[in-house]
């Protein structure tokens, strides 16, 4: 397998090697040999300067090719005999996996392109499930499709320790959760937020699902063998928890957040969350400040379960106390995540906390000033605040992320 080197590493290596030479740690000959070694790597396909770009292109290429196969089959449905349709599913899928494995692990000269092919194989597996369901009119329970896809890809993500495969599997399983629970609910009971259908019962469900993924991510960080794939759990979990948590800051308290029929989902997710915290407590290398994070997540889960099981909805609108409390908890959550990100030097925590901070600020500005200010002034002030605030925030963000880098350099 080829040694992976990227642009940042190459630049740092050049800077460091000058210092090593000055300090007498390496001779000029050794310095040249080391530099030549890495330049050789770059010349023979090593992703020295374009590693990220190759990853992005490979993923995009995989998605486009996968969509192309589906569209080809859809557009030539009658013209293709059944065996042809099946061949279009099985042959590209098996070929993508084999080619991906060959390029990444056997020959090792195109590891990122190989990873792209393996991702394409997983996408074609999903496409295969839906195409077979369509060829044979297997529409009995549509939510089973994403469930089989997500669970089928998950073991592969663990074997290869692939973040892209794991992200795909988790996203598909979240889609399944939405489809499956939706099929358990009566369609007539949908509520609307403005013109958008937003059933408040999904808010608490996805909030708990987000916390569960977040907890699983923390547990993965505690074990060296799993740390590499903790990212997708944490990122998707945070996005899901903050995204649905953000909806709690609106005046939706006239409705219920729970559907009694969904209790197996609430309990299963909460149980998985508690197991993950238990697993984290038993792990050998816990992340810094994990106790605080675990307690914070437990409190949030407690609040979500309270809303789910005990809150039966208050009549009417204008529940200012509840909305204010939800906003305070939301702001506290942003601060805690920002603090944890700073403590552990995790850019992803800082970025997600700032993203949801800005989102909240923007929406609250609309909430409070829309009626108070003349429209022109509203938009001018809003625009200027966003522009200036955006610049200041981006500078602050870079400063924080820069300080992580500096600290790592000093270490």
């Amino acid at each position: 397998m080829g040694k992976k080197i990227d642009r940042g590493f190459a630049r740092k290596l050049r800077e460091e090697i000058e210092i090593w030479e000055r300090e007498g740690l390496v001779s000029p000959i050794l310095r040249d040999r080391i530099l030549a070694y890495y330049q050789m790597k770059a010349r023979f396909g090593g992703p020295l300067a374009t590693g990220k770009l190759i990853t992005v292109l490979s993923v995009l290429g995989s998605v486009l090719a996968g969509v192309g196969v589906i569209l080809f089959v859809a557009a030539n449905w009658s013209a293709i005999p059944v065996w042809g349709k099946l061949a279009v599913i099985f042959i590209p899928m098996a070929a993508s996996y084999c080619l991906g494995y060959l390029l990444r692990y056997e020959r090792g000269d195109f590891p990122r392109v190989g990873a792209g092919f393996i991702l394409l194989g997983a996408l074609l597996f999903g496409a295969g499930i839906f195409l077979i369901a369509q060829i044979y009119h297997l529409s009995v329970h549509f939510a089973n499709g994403p469930l089989v896809w997500g669970l089928g890809v998950l073991p592969l993500a663990y074997l290869l320790r692939f973040k892209t495969l794991l992200s795909l599997s988790l996203i598909v399983l979240l889609i399944w959760l939405g489809m499956e629970t939706h099929s358990w609910l009566s369609p007539k009971a949908f509520e609307f937020l403005g013109s958008v259908p937003a059933d408040s019962r999904f808010i608490s469900l996805f909030f708990i699902a987000g916390l569960t993924l977040w907890g699983l991510g923390l547990m993965h960080r505690g074990y060296e063998g799993l740390r590499r794939i903790s990212g997708p759990y944490i990122v998707l979990g945070m996005l899901c928890a903050f995204g649905s948590g953000f909806l709690f800051t609106f005046d939706l308290y006239g409705g219920r957040f729970a559907a009694p029929v969904l209790w197996p989902f609430y309990l299963a997710l909460s149980g998985l969350f508690l197991l993950s915290l238990f697993g984290l407590a038993l792990s050998s290398e816990k992340p810094l400040g994990w106790v605080w994070e675990a307690v914070f997540l437990l409190v949030l889960l407690g609040l979500a379960l309270y809303l789910t099981f005990l809150f039966s909805g208050l009549p009417g609108k204008g529940h200012r106390d509840l909305v204010l409390s939800a906003n305070l908890i939301y702001a506290l959550a942003v601060l805690i995540v920002l603090f944890l990100g700073y403590l552990r030097e995790f850019p992803v925590y800082v970025n997600i906390a700032l993203l949801f901070f800005v989102l909240d600020l923007f929406v609250r500005y609309f909430d409070f000033f829309w009626e108070l200010l003349p429209r022109s002034i509203f938009f001018i002030i809003g625009g200027l605040t966003l522009l200036i605030g955006g610049v200041l925030l981006e500078r602050k963000r870079r400063k924080i992320l820069g300080s992580f880098k500096k600290a790592q350099d000093e270490d």
């Binding site: 009658s78 692990y105 077979i132 044979y136 009119h137 529409s139 089928g152 290869l160």
Partner: protein
Amino acid sequence: MRIKFFLLILLQILILAGMIGYRHYWVETGEKIMLRVSPVDPRDLFRGDYVSLAYEISSLDLDRLSVKELFRPKEKVYVILEPETDGTWKAAGVAKSRPSGKKFIQGTVAFEKKGSSRWEITLKDDNGNLHHLSPRWWSGMQTGARVTFCLDQRGRVTSFAKEDPSRKDPCRGSPSLTGAIADIKTTPFRLLQVEYGIESFFVQEGKGRDIESGRIGQELKVEAVLRKDGKAMLKALWVDGKVFH
């Protein structure tokens, strides 16, 4: 690593093959029945590349079937079937538990509506003949209004619209009746809407609308395969004798 990788790929292939095998087993061991697709407003029939199918057994008149029980949404029900002379099957009853000794199809309650309306329209054509028609829906036209009804080959209303002399062949070749509304009779009844999981049929991209434009007045039937527990799976769609798999 290599063995584990290929074993997992094999597992994915087996999952896909299992889906195909399961369907074949279902078709081989199940009982094949023909179901009539009910006339629907053709504008709503084809959405994209799926054919949305509503069956005659999808909307059940609980009063006519003499069913007294109440039903909740998502409840599992067994619709008892009896044969018609043309080889299709119609609903003869609804049960909450599995009926023994009778042919049945398993479905899920979408909803029960107490005050649903059944319309009986009397139409007087230009020769003074009276026709009694039972459209599945009605939209606000009063007695005296001139209306064109499009019919299928069994004389059932597939669609209707206010008479428009500027439109030539509004029913696109299918039988039609035009005249003045002589009487509108509305009878309330208890409607049970049931879903069987066979309500969509996949066709080639862009093909749905081709079938739609040529299907008004044509007879639509579906060949379904019933498992022992009454669960149905689609096998083929028949449009006037032409079969789509």
